[in-house]
Amino acid sequence: MTTHINGSWELGAKMTALVVDDDSINQTIHHRLLEQLGIENQVARNGKEAIDIHCSGKKFDLILMDRDMPIMNGIEATRKLRAMGIRSMIAGVSTRCVKQEIQEFMEAGLDDYQEKPLTSAKIISILRKIHHSGSISY
């Protein structure tokens, strides 16, 4: 499957992403969705793992952050990443659709929010925002 955003994927180096989700089905699907779009990606099982990966020096263009996770949830992980100075596009993903809960998540520092289940179309809409804002975290 080839996909183009405004005619090209020209963002310099190959795009990278971090999938942060405790559910193994979502990990598998989101990893594959990104892989099929040509985005190199890895998986963290909870917010703490996501923080640790960043503390090791790794950076990503995109972080798909699940909200409800054990050990450290997506809200806390997002706040911590922003406090660490991480400017990557962080898109919250969750099954929650109550406005107040989405707002709480957004206020933690998200750039975007998508309701699960994720699809190629939803990821492409997130990627278009990266392309337009030029926000790349290298």
């Binding site: 559910d23 089905i25 979502n26 598998t28 699907i29 594959r32 409800d68 699960k116 289940p117 699809t119």
Partner: protein
């Protein structure tokens, strides 16, 4: 079985899928899974669905264990299991299972034990139906691949 033509198997698979969509057992998210399957990941759908079966059966055992406990009162824990089941069912397009989880969660939020027990029975029934139909689909796919003489690795069925 192996004598069936590839075309007939393909038609049978399409017919089964059409029935499952028409019945609301599956929704368009299942099509998304199919789109993620290609030459580089030829068994993607069955791999994901097998993970779903494994996780779901664990969740169903947990739910049954909670409800059959005479001292049961932990509706919050039940809610956590149901949220997980809803999420994973949505992710693979298991629409009817997901909808029963929604009703189950509503009963759980009202601390309605009898309602939860009824919902659990229905959930187990819907899950069994889904599992049987998806197994049927994967068996047809295996037969189609064998009949076409394609070099796909045989899937290992995990029960």
């Amino acid at each position: 079985m192996l004598g069936w033509g590839v075309d007939r198997l393909r038609a049978d698979m399409s017919r089964l899928l059409a029935i499952l969509f028409h019945q609301g057992v599956l929704d368009e998210q299942f099509l998304q899974l199919q789109q993620l399957q290609d030459e580089s990941s030829p068994n993607f759908v069955s791999e994901v669905v097998n993970i779903y079966f494994h996780e779901s059966e664990k969740l169903l055992r947990n739910l049954r264990g909670l409800l059959l406990d005479r001292e049961f009162s932990d509706y919050k824990k039940m809610g956590i299991h149901l949220n997980q089941f809803m999420g994973s069912s949505s992710s693979i397009g298991a629409n009817r299972v997901r909808n029963v989880c929604v009703a189950f969660r509503a009963a759980s939020e009202q601390n309605n034990r009898a309602g939860c027990l009824r919902a659990l029975e229905l959930l187990e029934h819907e899950y069994c139906y889904l599992k049987n139909k998806l197994h049927e689909l994967f068996q047809m796919e295996q037969q189609r691949v064998l009949a076409a003489g394609a070099r796909y690795p045989l899937q290992q069925q995990q029960h």
